[in-house]
Amino acid sequence: MSLGLALTMLTLIVLIPLAALALRAAALGPAGLYELVSDPRVAAALKVSFLTALAAALANAVFGTLTAWVLVRYDFYGRRIFDALIDLPFAMPTAVAGIALTSVYSPKGLIGEWLAPLGIKVAYTPLGIIVALIAVGFPFVVRTVQPVLEEISRETEEVSATLGANRFQTIFFVVLPPLIPAILTGFALALARGVGEYGSVIFIAGNLPFKSEIAPLLIVIKLEEFNYAGATAIAAVMLAISFLMLFVINGIQSWSQKRFGHG
């Protein structure tokens, strides 16, 4: 019963729309698809989307792990509130995040006015896109690393110290290796989210073609021009990228289970 329900649900909201998309893309034919996607503006947008998402996911892997560490290992005043705030990017409408970031990072904004004299422009550049993607992808790494980190006892670190390992050796040989699968999973999730992110990015990106225009925006533009074939082609490519990432995530998970599942 519950299995049937879950499968029906999955079919209605995921499989049928995806199949429709794949069918439409197939109707274009490989040559047609290639022609639409190799349009320089499309290629540039895909590149911007993918590279900014990659940069943001990398930043999140580092800072998310650090944040998870702080949340698990330190007991400070307001820790629970801080912990709850991590999920805010999940809960908040992404457009709100985008507008807030834009106002803060624009050259006249709270942070932007300090960066402008240094020659750093955030809003309306790819850097702005990265900032927005870091904001929306942040919870993924924190929330995947946190539970694994809680499993690693402080005693493990203490034992490492008694065996003569310095702090650096303890972190790199004892603490981080068991976290790697979780960090990679969080990284992949943040990356997947970043590639498809729309709401928070379009306000801060400036949307200059060939410079700070993201692929999802280009889909919307194509749709507004009634160019359904063009929109479908971009969507199909993005779908392919997403699938690839899902495979990678699953691969990492099964690898990590084999490696650490006995614990």
Binding site: E155, T156, E158, V159, G164, A165, F260, H262
Partner: protein, 343 residues
């Protein structure tokens, strides 16, 4: 390695965990730190390891003041109750860890590391399991890996925190015996923390009984069990019975009446302590008197719970009755301890 703990105080915030604790440990001794939870025994062990630093006092390794040495510099082997093995490393890598993290000038060559690790794995009887991960081992095996790992760095002292606490009774007994043999073979100065008195008495050369951040008594198993020096030690180690008494000029009085017992303890309101089996039943003459509240049968004797309050508040003690003595619930019993202590 001789270890001297010299007037150590340790406070966590406002909470005093140890008050002026001093202890001399001779090289090669196997010492048990025995006490209830919160007695400060684990804190003392962690201070010796360098995982905590004292608020006052000194810890000497031989002649060297180690009080402020870092845990890495102290070169101690530490084994935790829950093993704290590195789960992502094989048994071999776990044991080799302490040698591999050494600086290049003191790190043995690869082949030498391999030889020593294999020797240690053999010593803890885990040959053939080098390639396994901790998750594939039983509790007792994991604890032996933890021990081999600690031994790999040739520690000056071996520190074990409740080493058998997480194991079931059978494995615990085996491993206890095994550890004693292991210690006799390797001769390492060893301190282990336990709340299990049987373990402490059976295993250790000397037992350190601790309570509320103080050392109550240090001595052999016989000293601790037969000559307890404080009310705490008497009641914590072994079964004991306790009754309130008044001491007047060496006479021990109970509920206003003489008991015929004599003591060298000074006058005042005191408590008499004795083992349940160290009693003689009395037909007449001065004695403790009480009514049997309940009885239960052990293998070779009966344990009677007695209310010696005689109507003036409950004073319950348990004593051992020989099987031949006619007694039942409600019977009046008169007895005197033939060995006792008054605190």
């Amino acid at each position: 390695m001789d270890i001297r703990i010299d007037k150590i105080r340790k406070e966590f915030g406002d909470f005093p965990a140890l008050h002026d604790v001093s202890l001399n440990i001779r090289s090669g001794e196997l010492i048990a730190l025995l006490g209830p939870s919160g007695s400060g025994k684990t804190t003392l062990l962690r201070l010796v390891a360098g995982l905590e630093y004292p608020s006052q006092g000194r810890i000497l390794f031989g002649e060297e003041d180690a009080s402020w040495k870092s845990v890495q510099e102290r070169n101690v082997g530490f084994v935790f109750q829950h093993y704290a093995l590195f789960k992502h490393m094989t048994v071999f890598d776990n044991v080799a860890f302490g040698l591999r993290v050494r600086g290049s000038e003191t790190r043995p060559p690869k082949a030498e590391i391999r030889r020593r690790v294999e020797e240690l794995i053999d010593m803890v009887q885990l040959s053939g399991m080098e390639g396994r991960y901790p998750g594939q081992l039983s509790g007792g095996q994991r604890q032996r890996v933890a021990l081999a790992r600690a031994m790999a760095i040739e520690p000056r002292v071996l520190l074990l925190d409740e080493p058998f606490g997480a194991l079931d009774a059978k494995v615990r007994k085996d491993l206890r015996k095994w550890l004693r043999e292991f210690h006799d073979r390797t001769g390492h100065t060893t301190l282990f923390v336990t709340h299990d008195q049987e373990e402490a008495l059976e295993l250790a050369d000397r037992v350190v009984v601790m309570s509320q951040g103080k050392i109550e008594q240090v001595g052999s198993a016989d000293d601790i069990y037969d000559r307890p020096q404080s009310a705490f030690v008497f009641s914590f180690v072994g079964d004991s019975a306790r009754l309130p008494v008044t001491v007047a000029n060496g006479d021990v009085n109970f509920k206003g009446g003489a008991t015929g017992l004599r003591t060298s303890v000074g006058n005042g309101e005191k408590h008499i302590f004795f083992r349940p089996r160290d009693i003689v039943l009395q037909d007449d003459g001065p004695a403790f008197e009480g009514r049997i509240v309940s009885m239960r049968r052990l293998a070779g004797a009966r344990i009677a719970e007695i209310d010696a309050g005689l109507g003036e508040g409950a004073e319950r003690v348990e004593i051992e009755l020989p099987l031949g003595v006619p007694a039942e619930q409600g019977s009046l019993i008169r007895f005197l301890p033939h060995r006792f202590a008054i605190f």
